[in-house]
Symmetry: C2
Subunit: 628 residues, 2 copies
Amino acid sequence: MKIRYSQITVIPGNPAKNYETCFDAALRAKTAGVNLLILPEMAIPGYMVGDKWEENDFIDDCEYYSNQLAKETNENFSLIFGSVAFYESVFGKPQNGFDGRKAKMNVAYIASNGKVEYQIKTLLPNYREFEEPRHFLDNLTATTMFSEGSISQMFKLREINDVKFGVTICEDGWDDDYNLAPLKILGEMGAEVLVNISYSPFTAGKNQSRIRHFSNHAKTLKKPVIYVNGLGLQNNGKTIFCFDGSSAAWDCNGNLIAHSGMYTQEDVDFLYQDGKISAVDAPQYIQRNELEDIHATLIYGIKNYMSQNGLKRVVIGASGGVDSTLAAALYAEAIGKENLLLVNMPTKFNSQTTISIAQKLAHNLGCWYTSVPVSESAELTKRQINGLKSTNSEGETMEIILSGFNMENVQARDRGSRILAAIASGWGGVFTNNGNKTETTVGYATLYGDVAGFLAALGDLWKHTVYDLCRFINSKAKKEIVPVEVLTLKPSAELSENQAVDKGLGDPLIYPYHDRLFESFQQWWNRASLADILQHYLDGNLADFLNHGLESELDENMIRKNFPDAKTFVADLERWYKLFKGMAVAKRIQAPPIIAVTRRAYGFDYRESAIQPYFTRKYLELKEKALK
Amino acid sequence: MKIRYSQITVIPGNPAKNYETCFDAALRAKTAGVNLLILPEMAIPGYMVGDKWEENDFIDDCEYYSNQLAKETNENFSLIFGSVAFYESVFGKPQNGFDGRKAKMNVAYIASNGKVEYQIKTLLPNYREFEEPRHFLDNLTATTMFSEGSISQMFKLREINDVKFGVTICEDGWDDDYNLAPLKILGEMGAEVLVNISYSPFTAGKNQSRIRHFSNHAKTLKKPVIYVNGLGLQNNGKTIFCFDGSSAAWDCNGNLIAHSGMYTQEDVDFLYQDGKISAVDAPQYIQRNELEDIHATLIYGIKNYMSQNGLKRVVIGASGGVDSTLAAALYAEAIGKENLLLVNMPTKFNSQTTISIAQKLAHNLGCWYTSVPVSESAELTKRQINGLKSTNSEGETMEIILSGFNMENVQARDRGSRILAAIASGWGGVFTNNGNKTETTVGYATLYGDVAGFLAALGDLWKHTVYDLCRFINSKAKKEIVPVEVLTLKPSAELSENQAVDKGLGDPLIYPYHDRLFESFQQWWNRASLADILQHYLDGNLADFLNHGLESELDENMIRKNFPDAKTFVADLERWYKLFKGMAVAKRIQAPPIIAVTRRAYGFDYRESAIQPYFTRKYLELKEKALK
């Protein structure tokens, strides 16, 4: 028996287009004498479509195209692919969900000889960016609550060419924390080959954990496992996810026998006979540096987000700082130097150092470059607004006064909303947001200024990863793409005399420390509380705690040097925590979409309300003791 | 037995503060000889706190303060109030949820004589802004999946002062579409008084439906029902919800015996004896105009969103159009005329008509007024950007050209991000977004221009409601607050000669039609599909379909007059649908938070992805036939 998986690209919310992709894969498979073609989860509807799942006409189309695809099967050619189904289609009778909406399920179509069976997804993720129970019934609920059947109806072996397949969907394979283990159940029922169709986005480090995980399933159950993941770019509005593929297969000893690349469309074939599976000319796993994966993901994300939105040209405000420099290098690679324009926008506070870096960067990339000074407009705003008189009906007057800090923000907004926006619209393009995750965490940026832009490609990268990626790009190119000067320059907004880079002045953040601190607030699965952090500071092992087993520049000495006593430590901790939970939330609400690469990107992946920061009793008690 | 409910204000994510509010209510109740005090759902933690539910230190504090409050009870004084509980606290043993996070439940604390029992919420809403299953186990799951108990453990009668109470939480009372009916179960078990503690936000029309609904429960089950809803302002980042109270009680015949006002803190007492309940000096239901409710909600929303964020002063760009006029009238009422500054920002395209309206408005409101012309800055931008030369490393040059349309957007951004932002920061305040729901639906606004602002108070109001509210404000004040000229003026952006109001030119939207059309796309529970709409147009009954049983200016003649044939109809339909699902999504991603008043506000209440518009087979086939 010849089995193939096709790692295909799925477009969100376009069953007609996805049907074509699947149909082409089926045609290729039939031509190649394949007996069973396996395609990813949700291959027909796509996955992240928001409340479009509530549009019944859309579901009708998904079912129509799923059934059309199933018609491609015959005696010698079967299909397994993911789609959505109404309860009615699966169980033959109409049924509403718990809250009155038509009941729907995330299913695998198992089609043989024109006939369709369904496997309903059992474990529905409901954390991070996932919210499947909002739209779908899980297998247990659908099978036991509404039908007259029993729980044994939940799992069935699917006989194709006399081989018994056990079919699962994505989270079904990640059963560690659940009270049902679908792969185990199917394995014990006598499945000869276990299949997991997925549609699972890239997260740094996930690939290796996935290999370990499914290898264990294969070894424990003594069955071959075929894992098929899709490609594509999907979003939930605020957060953009890159689906990287990395489909794979393991033999019944848990050995990895095939592993597809990231972001490449691939057909991979297997022969199955008498309990043994072997791969035919299959791609093999290549261990890669995590930075390489992140880099590939950002390039894929930028390229596809632009093409999905019909965009071609990009304008970047290039300050000569490290963030806009990395952004420029990524966009040049993703969309081509001819579509990229760097704009330097100096004020009197900008150093020749950073201006030279921006020029050199444009030269290295071979892209367009120009310069537009901000001073004249800043002066105009000062002249128009500073001292502006207002009156009321009682004949009183009052005057607006702009402070130095107000003028810093005037400059930032002038760059984003006046200059870059005008240039981008005149050129028929868009301009970027270059904020990193560290800034985004505490809102160290100006709304409608550097917070503006069509896409925040760096929004899920901590500052240290921004540097690492710059070095990675140079080392990969074996030449200087990123001007090396930027790697040693003190990061600075250069918006006032207090931020003069040539005097070694700049940002108020101690990046090696604050990166890790903010990561512990926001990104850990078991997030660190302020009480945890203060306790570890007092115990003298905060660096270890924050490094979380990862390599880092941060050590205990750095912490002690910057915060010699509890008072300075607490003041810094609370300063940033209040911003993180306060003003920064307001800025994130109006910030552009972020390409997710970590376990928690801002936006839909990390749901937050604009509420006042809260200090727990535990923290307040600990602090009181520490400050005594 | 003396029973009281307190309709109190709950702060999201602040158990310490909420404990104080509840403690005060308990103290008042004890002083008044009350035997049982009932407080709203989630009275200790608050409700909309995003992924803060995953912070275990926060839950610890919620439990601590809940238990502290329970200690206030004694032999003669019991409490029922909402909070969150770990599985461990309720069942006495630790248990993780399905995906490894610590299991938590939305519960009612039932405290008597210092002892606590828990009623777990049975029906968890998972639609619109709700996502309770993301964080909480439901009663069935918690009771039957993890404990050794049976399903009968889910519901218990709670004996207080020898009276049997059946306690439910919010959605538990809205069982129409669910397969479990908690109130019915408890009624049939022999409850003498049914209680529903809620934390349910305002939605236009919900109050009357609630009265009907719970009256039916009381009548059918022949038991008195006490419904206690909280007050407060909570948000999910993009969407702000006003919790209006409107707590009430019904006797066992379903008669409404008490009904609290909207947004007022109230203690209401009842006497219960021998199956009979009576209210003591209780507030009674006053039938109100829906506009009055919406008006009250917007005032409450503005006032509380500002105070929660420590804001006092507001700047409004007053164009003399109807939207900014309504915004100004609302803010003047919510925050006081002394905290409000209207800024008129004319270009050469602005008419004396609208400038005069803006001046008159400021005069009527008694607030601050000033004027800042945009032309000089627009000229500067044109001079700097139009014809701007860029070069590349190959010595090529290219030139940026700004079109008339580009210059319209330059003006809009200049008003928002340069002038209003600078004035607001100089005055120590914020500036508003005045966009209505119709514009928001199709993105008829400029990003970083009129899309900017700290809050979109009008973002959930269709254009016709904007007019209605203006008239309501004048009629309520019995004088002209809103200059009447604005009510008859053609709506226009006044950004070019093609939008000259004095020539009767303006917006491309036919509001009486497009309001209803967009409402059918976005706001209906069963949303209209393009195929539905086109079919009704062809059948000649589209106005009826879109009016949806509501009064409206729209009739079939208006539709025929504007779209005499299928071709013009389809062109208009697709033009706006593509914007709704396309560019407008990108703008909404970066738009400010909206105060929700309808059944679907944009933001967290209507989840959407930035994906290409999709036309279903059904629509495409119908269109093909229609255009033949």
